[in-house]
């Protein structure tokens, strides 16, 4: 890296917005996942789109790799940069450029916080539907990179369903406009390809999102069960009835107790093996009331011990706070927490949950489950102390077994957290060398030098081209053997 690079960057963004000292750079060494740690060479915080473009063009001229980062709430190590790369923190690009209520869209910069966009849309009777648990901190740019989900994505869809158009800054410093405000693309659906590319294709500098009307009626139900299996069967019964709740979330006993012991206590019954949080919403109050009655009856018939309806907005918020802050509440259980992410077919939920419980017992680990049951999107959370190397190895081994169990059930390794660094080793379990090679080739169309967020998403050594070129080498990227 050129000795002049730092001063040249400072000339663009101002020295206050360049972090050179190691003590400052260490602040950015992790994201929301405590198992990976990398210290970037430099940290740059551009304040305008023009500064960002100038920074990326300077890095292109120097051939320096860089990693775009939003609020750093990701859970896959995806926004980490090592000593060879510059970290571009985009949180200062936080302007909402336009809200067009008539056409139900907004144009924002990448650093706009998810919840702030929601709040800004509310006076127009609209919402930005994707609501990851970190929505009070995470940014829309990060949501686009990760194709973020959230509890209400069951009905409203994930980030990919809400992005209409993007202005993208490629690694070489050129700008590309993809998508259109009406949602039709200029040619192939490059917006669809870009969303979820984990920063490997460039930086979304302007994001046009779809807003949806706020529901006029909402009913929130809390059902508790004596077993995870019957709670899972209740989920299937609701879906089979043709009703799509806005959200259908499950928590197991370990998670319930962690929440109830915390400041986020929501009144969940501690003796329940599982609770389901079911939300039915809509624009037509009569329909919501009628569907709520049907769902209540289905929950009871499926074996719920009790079904409680939030009697007020305050009670609803309390029930949701418990769910959304569950990851924080689990901080009470141990020093560190690995929030895992996998998806299985809904019908496989009961069996997979039992398998996860068996794996946890085998390794003597505490695994708490809080997840999007309606989508089959599991979040097994492992509580541990990362300073204990033996324990850390057990967590890695248990995580690998959980992933393998989900894949064996017909599922996948991530539903909303992304691959990042953390799940590179699992990619060859679900994609063959040909498919990984195709992904790698697409990345090179956008970024031929592979300078944006290097070393993430696709394990290059498992791609067909690499294997063909290195016939004698041992395949890499495989999950570690389980003890």
């Amino acid at each position: 890296m050129s000795p002049h690079l730092a001063s040249d960057l400072a000339a663009i963004v101002g020295s206050h917005h360049l972090r050179e000292a190691r003590a400052e750079r260490v602040t950015y060494a992790m994201d929301g996942l405590p198992t990976h740690r990398r210290v970037p060479a430099l940290v740059v915080l551009p304040g305008t789109r023009e500064e960002l473009i100038a920074v990326v063009r300077l890095l292109a001229a120097h051939g320096v790799p860089f990693v775009p980062r939003g609020a750093g709430t990701g859970l896959s190590g995806g926004a980490l940069a090592d000593e060879a790369a510059v970290l571009l923190v985009l949180t200062r690009l936080n302007r909402i450029l336009r809200i067009d209520g008539d056409n139900r869209l907004a144009v924002v910069e990448p650093g706009v916080v998810n919840a702030k966009l929601g709040a800004a849309a509310r006076p127009a009777g609209l919402q930005y539907a994707p609501d990851p648990s970190s929505q009070s901190a995470c940014t829309i740019g990060g949501n686009v990179a990760e194709n973020a989900g959230g509890p209400h994505c069951l009905k409203y869809g994930v980030t990919a369903n809400h992005i209409l158009a993007l202005e993208v800054l490629l690694a070489d410093g050129s700008l590309v406009e993809i998508g259109s405000p009406g949602g039709e693309s200029w040619g192939p659906d490059l917006v669809g390809v870009f969303v979820g590319s984990e920063g490997n294709f460039g930086i979304a500098t302007r994001i046009t999102v779809r807003l949806t009307p706020l529901p006029r009626a909402v009913r929130t139900l809390l059902a508790d069960f004596n077993g995870l299996r019957i709670a899972g069967e209740a989920v299937s019964a609701i879906i089979a009835a043709g009703i799509v709740p806005a959200a259908l979330e499950m928590m197991d006993q370990s998670c319930i107790c962690a929440v109830e012991d915390s400041v986020y206590a929501a009144g969940y019954p501690r003796d329940a093996a599982a609770v389901l949080l079911v939300e039915i919403d809509g624009r037509n109050g009569d329909a919501v009331v009628a569907e709520t009655e049907v769902v209540t009856e289905l929950l009871r018939k499926s074996g719920a011990r009790s079904v409680r309806s939030a009697a007020s907005e305050a009670e609803r918020e309390r029930l949701w706070q418990g769910r959304k802050k569950a990851f924080g509440a689990m901080g009470r259980l141990s020093r560190d927490l690995v929030v895992q992410d996998a998806v299985v077919p809904r019908s496989a939920l009961p069996q997979v949950l039992e398998t996860i419980s068996t794996i946890a017992k085998h390794y003597g680990l505490v695994v708490s489950n809080v997840f999007h049951a309606g989508d089959g999107n599991l979040h097994p959370n492992i509580s541990f102390d990362a300073t204990d190397p033996v324990l850390k190895k057990k967590v890695e081994a248990a995580s690998a077994e959980i992933m393998q169990a989900c894949i064996a059930a017909g599922g996948t390794i991530t539903g909303e957290h992304g691959v990042g660094i953390d799940k590179l080793r699992y990619m060859p379990l679900i994609f063959d060398a040909e498919s990984l090679g195709a992904m790698h080739a697409v990345r090179r169309v956008f970024d031929p030098e592979e300078r944006v967020n290097p070393g993430k998403v696709v394990p290059v050594h498992a791609c067909r081209e690499w294997i063909s070129a290195n016939p004698g080498a041992a395949p890499r990227g495989q999950p570690r053997a389980v003890a």
Binding site: A160, E177, W186, R283, N284, V294, T414, V419, I430, M439
Partner: protein
């Protein structure tokens, strides 16, 4: 050896079908592996290949050394009603797939234009959504994953069979609406819904501007129709424009929306269609778009719908039009020429409205292209992606036109 002799040796006699009127050999591989074998050979031999489904949508007239039809890829390996997912090969007709799904209580909530037997792969490759896009979104929103074969015979998987999936880049969305430029789709993993327990269609005739207003009032009243489609008189075969409202879902939801429809229509009297009438109405609408020589779609913001409909009528005449104003989507079919279509595309580009040519005779689509008027920087990316997935240029697809 001739091409047919080579193909026969490769895939067997059974894969060779009767050629069409242009006498281009028509090959129907019987499995995804056979598609890969054929395209790998085509790449090596330098054969130019055009892709066909059932031959009911896009005209089978692109100049090529052979036509690859997916019609023998018609198996449905999995339907999982409890998970609301299915896996189907690309060559299955939508009518057959619908029936198999309905038998299991499941529903693929798409109603693309074209004949009932149009293949699933054709619908996905062209991303041709119909009126149900109003509530259920574009075709890509119904896909969990696809398997496709590249122009040089590589088999690539994307996505999976579960409801949420962010493992790897989303190549499924590249294939949805790629018109086959990035490979031949052979297998599709689908997101399903429960077959609606209530499904009723209402229609109202009137002046276009009045119906547009009623459509907006319906949305403002909080009704949630599955489809809200504005249809031109010629296409609807009625005296005046028609606003068709389809309510589908749980009985509770449909009953509540029915109750609100009268109030929202400002005194306009919607007529309910009997089940068979509704089926015939939507079927006629879909089939209408495969009758005339040229069909295209445009997508603008909802508030521009009226202006765009005026523009279409002014530049191309009052032909067969169907619009989903709230979704900003308009489809036109009729007869036109290269100059008028290129002029229209340029005009629309100035309004930030893309025009996608869905079907047209080869001389027109070869000149105009399915896509065009790219925004800044898009052209080189599309060209790069084409080189990646079809390095030898074996697949004959008029992406940008000449």
């Amino acid at each position: 050896m001739t091409i047919l002799e080579k193909v026969s040796a490769l895939l067997g006699e059974g894969a060779i079908l009767e050629a069409g009127t242009d006498r281009v050999p028509r090959i129907a591989p019987g499995s995804p592996d056979a598609v890969a074998l054929l395209l790998g050979t085509a790449h090596q031999e330098g054969w130019r290949v055009r892709i066909e489904g059932a031959g009911t949508w896009l005209q089978s007239d692109a100049p090529a050394d052979l036509a690859l039809t997916t019609r023998r890829l018609d198996r449905v390996p999995a339907i999982e009603p409890s998970d609301l997912t299915a896996t189907a090969e690309a060559g299955i007709g939508l009518d057959q797939l619908r029936q198999q799904l309905a038998d299991r209580g499941a529903w693929l909530a798409i109603d693309p234009p074209g004949l009932a037997g149009r293949t699933l792969g054709s619908v996905v490759a062209t991303a041709t959504a119909g009126p149900l896009r109003h509530a259920f979104g574009p075709i890509k929103d119904h896909l969990l994953g696809v398997t496709f074969v590249t122009g040089d015979g590589r088999m690539v998987q994307s996505g999976g069979r579960v409801m949420k999936n962010v493992a790897g880049y989303d190549l499924t969305r590249l294939q949805a609406g790629g018109f086959g430029a990035f490979g031949v789709i052979v297998l599709v993993h689908l997101r399903l819904r429960t077959l609606p327990r209530a499904d009723i269609t209402y229609v109202l005739e009137g002046a276009r501007e009045d119906l547009t207003q009623i459509g907006e009032d319906i949305a403002a009243a909080g009704l949630t129709p599955a489809a809200l489609e504005l249809v031109s008189p010629a296409l609807a075969r009625r005296e005046r424009w028609v606003l068709a409202v389809r309510l589908a879902g749980s009985p509770a939801l449909v009953a509540a929306d029915e109750a609100g429809l009268g109030a929202a229509s400002g005194g306009g009297r919607f007529t309910p269609l009997r089940a068979e009438e509704a089926h015939a109405f939507w079927m006629r609408l879909a089939e209408g778009f495969s009758v005339r020589p040229v069909t295209f779609r445009i997508g603008g913001v909802p508030t521009a719908s009226d202006e765009l409909l005026d523009l279409l009528q002014h530049q191309l005449g009052d032909e067969w039009i169907s619009a989903s104003p709230a979704a900003g989507a308009i489809r036109w079919t009729g007869d036109t020429n290269i100059d008028r279509l290129q002029r229209l595309r340029r005009t629309l580009a100035g309004l930030e409205v893309p025009l996608t040519l869905e079907r047209a005779p080869w001389p027109l689509r070869g000149a105009v292209g399915h896509f065009g008027a790219y925004r800044e920087g898009v052209g080189p990316l599309v060209a790069g992606l084409r080189r990646t997935f079809d390095p030898g240029g074996a697949l004959v697809v008029a992406t940008e036109g000449s």
